[in-house]
């Protein structure tokens, strides 16, 4: 048998295996990126995101939470003070989920009408596990950052 330098052979194998792993890493990564939007943003780019999985974050509008009595189906409105997304969800809501607090919903964007069907609902936490209250200031800031990204 022809004597091949073992180091070369080993390096080649290592590079092939490593390359395969990195390719796996890269493809899985690009497949699983989910963008996070405020309700205003998602409406602005509604057509771009049709059929894609998105996360929408905002405040659960006080008084908007409606439960179909005796079932796990709920509707609520997610707002950033300007735009809003009516959300429909079937399932057990997280402990920290409340009206007037921050929440993040995930699901496939299908134009958002009449409802955005959320597959996952997360309550937003801040320091020490207390849910974020979207203060007026916070809303202002969110709006400003949206404006900035649009420009």
């Amino acid at each position: 048998m022809v004597e091949i330098d073992k180091r070369v052979l080993l390096s080649v194998t290592a590079v092939v295996v490593g390359g395969a792993l990195l390719t796996l890493l890269y493809t899985s990564f690009t497949d699983s990126l989910v963008y996070f939007h405020t309700p205003t943003e998602i409406w602005e780019k509604s057509t771009d995101f049709k059929g894609r999985k998105v996360r929408i974050g905002g405040m659960v509008q006080a008084g908007s939470l409606v439960r179909k009595a005796g079932t796990l189906e709920v509707n609520f409105t997610l707002t950033d003070g300007k735009g809003e997304v009516m959300t429909h969800y079937t399932g057990v809501l997280p402990d920290l989920f409340r009206e007037g607090q921050g929440a993040v919903v995930e699901g496939v964007w299908r134009g958002g009408s009449p409802y955005f069907d959320a597959t996952t609902v997360l309550a937003k936490h801040s320091e020490d596990y207390v849910p974020v209250s979207m203060s007026q200031e916070g809303l202002e800031r969110a709006r400003r950052s949206i404006l900035k990204s649009v420009q």
Partner: protein, 660 residues
């Protein structure tokens, strides 16, 4: 006079900062000038820092026990109603206190390292002290000036805000300290690595010290991670134990690189290869530990664990990380040639060395996977202003194949010899394991498992178990033949004679048990959300559940709705009592899951909201084989314990003679 203690502690911490500076300076001076006087100064400083920081930590604990709400940190994390156990451990309930706790551990470790290695590592010691001193200074600056737990409130509130209810659980109490013992533990091997690079002597002794400290830190970190998973499973009530949450990832990254190091350091000890690579791994591990601490404690992450936002702190932390990284990798690049391997060469493609090489490749890619998934969203948000998330699907997609590859290597690596192996030899060694490894997935297929990863996983688990079992069997057989002793004492002697090796093999078996748990709970779990009214019946798997009634219950500092759920499977009847708790002082309800666990499966019931018309939401999980994970962790701990009891194998020398 209650208020005095905290000021004593504050003063002690300030003094510790000054002495840590002295420790660094004297260490450098001692290392450069090779004058023992400076070394002794550095040593005394290190010991004093440990004493002073002990005082500082105790003062905070005392303030908690005395309900001294004039201390802001106490007021934020305790209340008059909080049980004593949680009062004492609230020290690490928030980020200021946990950083103080971190730096305390670091000071204790550097004192222990000084004491342990005083005679054995005279060349490394000054640099060891200097580097540990510098890390102490960095952390003390952070603790004292940017996130001080000693801050006072005037006037003092009458009662505190109480400890977060989620943290009021024994599992959570022990999760952070172990994690920190791990993180901080890596600072010692890191300091050894840097010391070796600086003094440029590549003797074998610091490698040994480095390996043992790493093993210790690794064991602590593993325990911390498992505690965290356990806590998530039993307290957070979402039916799982691992969510690829950024904070979990932060502790997982150093674990991965440290595991890689523990394997590749064997190649260095045995063959003198991989020297620079090992230093790279240990530096990376420490850097990732720092990153982990900072990610969790600076609030840059929007996860369940994230704490306060403070830009000043963020800038300091970034600068600190930058200094550590530039210094470490700079020194590594400049000095690595001093540690060049002594022309050791790979003799064969199929040998243990190359198995370890691929092991390292897998672990490093795994760490990279986690790093990318954790930091990319942060980078995107900071640089591009876009918020993205990469959820569990990404990690699972990449990790499952990597884990399977590692499993295969685990079996192969044990079987093939050092230096010289060949494909034919390997095949001959592996042949007996192939039939069972192929049969097992077949049986599983008929048993209803269809997922390809699940089938491959089952085959690999059987394969690895068989290789490890035969390893024990062969060892025991030889001992019995040579010494004519009983089976058990032969096994005992076998392990005792080479604790490091068999400790490793036992640890592998623990991992194997955990993998069984991962496969079972990951691929075969069932989950159901539903509404039940009292008297309603539902089925999940083989279980029939009856929601009997709802009743109020109350304890010390909470009250709750408790559901009485009767679960029946064949002859077995269990009453499960999931609760929805409301802690005093917190507006948030918290679900307390009820779990019936057996070796086969966990029945996991979570009580949800009232949904009207007398109904309650329920979430019911059937998680197979979860217990195997906790048992595997126990076996791992046993294995590491065995490996750690092996003493030094090198003879003690007064003056280590470098090879370089």
């Amino acid at each position: 006079m209650t208020a005095v203690w905290i000021e004593v502690g504050h003063f002690a911490a300030l003094t510790a900062l000054v002495l840590a500076l002295l420790q660094t300076g004297a260490g450098i001076r001692g290392g450069v000038a090779e004058r023992p006087v400076w070394l002794r100064v550095a040593k005394q400083a290190a010991l004093m820092v440990a004493v002073l920081l002990t005082v500082a930590n105790l003062s905070l604990v005392i303030s908690f026990l005395q309900h001294d709400f004039s201390v802001r940190y106490v007021a934020m994390h305790a209340s008059l109603r909080l049980p004593v156990f949680y009062l004492a451990t609230a020290l690490w309930g928030g980020h200021e206190g946990s950083l103080l706790f971190w730096v305390w551990l670091l000071s204790l470790f550097s004192a222990v390292a000084t004491w342990r290695h005083w005679t054995t590592h005279p060349r490394s010691l000054p640099w060891l002290l200097a580097i540990l001193g510098a890390i102490l200074v960095g952390f003390l600056l952070l603790v004292l000036f940017l996130s001080s737990p000693f801050e006072r409130l005037f006037p003092a509130p009458a009662d505190g805000r109480d400890l977060n209810p989620m943290l009021q659980d024994p599992g959570m109490v022990f999760h952070p300290p172990f994690l920190y013992l791990g993180y901080v533990g890596f600072s010692i091997p890191y300091a050894f690595a840097m010391a070796a690079l600086i003094h440029g002597r590549s003797g074998a002794e610091w490698v040994l010290a480095m390996r043992r400290w790493t093993l210790f830190a690794w064991a602590m970190l593993s325990t911390g991670i498992v505690f965290g998973a356990y806590w998530a499973y039993y307290v957070l009530g979402w039916g799982g134990y691992w969510a690829w949450d950024p904070v979990e990832n932060a502790s997982f990254m150093p674990w991965l690189t440290a595991t890689a190091f523990l394997h590749s350091v064997m190649v260095q000890e045995r063959r003198g290869m991989f020297r620079t690579w090992n230093l790279f791994l240990i530096i990376t591990t420490f850097a990732l530990s720092l990153l982990g601490t900072f990610l969790v404690r600076s609030g840059v992450l929007s996860s369940v664990h994230a704490f306060a936002n403070d830009p000043g702190r963020g800038v300091f932390i970034l600068a600190f990380m930058a200094v550590v990284l530039l210094f470490s990798f700079g020194v590594l690049i400049l000095r690595a040639d001093l540690l060049k391997s002594d022309a050791a060469r790979l003799d064969s493609l199929v040998c243990k060395e190359s198995a370890f090489l691929f092991n390292n490749l897998f672990f490093v890619v795994a760490a990279l996977t986690v790093l990318l998934g954790t930091l990319y969203p942060l980078a995107m948000e900071t640089l591009a202003g876009a918020k993205v998330s990469v959820g569990a699907p990404y990690f699972n997609k990449v990790f499952v194949p990597i884990m399977l590859g590692m499993l295969a290597l685990m079996g192969v690596g044990l079987v093939i010899p050092w230096r010289r192996g060949s494909g034919r030899l390997l095949l001959r060694e592996l042949a007996p394991f192939l039939p069972p490894a192929l049969l097992a997935p077949l049986l599983a297929w008929f048993g209803g498992v269809r997922h390809p990863y699940g089938l491959i996983g089952i085959g690999l688990v059987v394969f690895v178990f068989a290789t490890h079992a035969r390893d024990f069997y062969r060892g025991v057989r030889t001992r019995r033949r040579q010494e004519g002793v009983s089976l058990l004492s032969a096994l005992g002697r076998l392990i005792a004679r080479n604790r490091r090796r068999y400790g490793g093999v036992i640890t592998h078996l623990g991992i194997l048990l955990m993998v069984v748990g991962f496969i079972g709970s990951g691929l075969l779990h069932q989950e159901r959300d539903l509404v039940l009214r009292p008297g309603d019946v539902t089925d999940i798997g083989p279980w029939r559940l009856t929601f009997e009634t709802l009743r109020p219950v109350a304890r010390d500092n909470w009250q709750a709705d408790e559901a009485v759920v009767r679960a029946v499977k064949g002859e077995v009847t269990r009453v499960l009592l999931p609760q929805k708790r409301l802690y005093h002082g917190s507006p948030q309800p918290m679900a307390e899951a009820a779990i019936y666990a057996t070796w086969r499966e966990d029945l996991y019931v979570v009580l949800g909201d009232a949904v009207g018309e007398g109904g309650r939401a329920f979430r019911i999980y059937l998680n197979p084989l979860v217990r195997w994970i906790w048992w595997g962790a126990g076996v791992m701990a046993l294995g590491v314990g065995v490996a750690l009891t092996q003493g030094r194998r090198l003879p003690r020398r007064k003056e280590p003679v470098g090879e370089g």
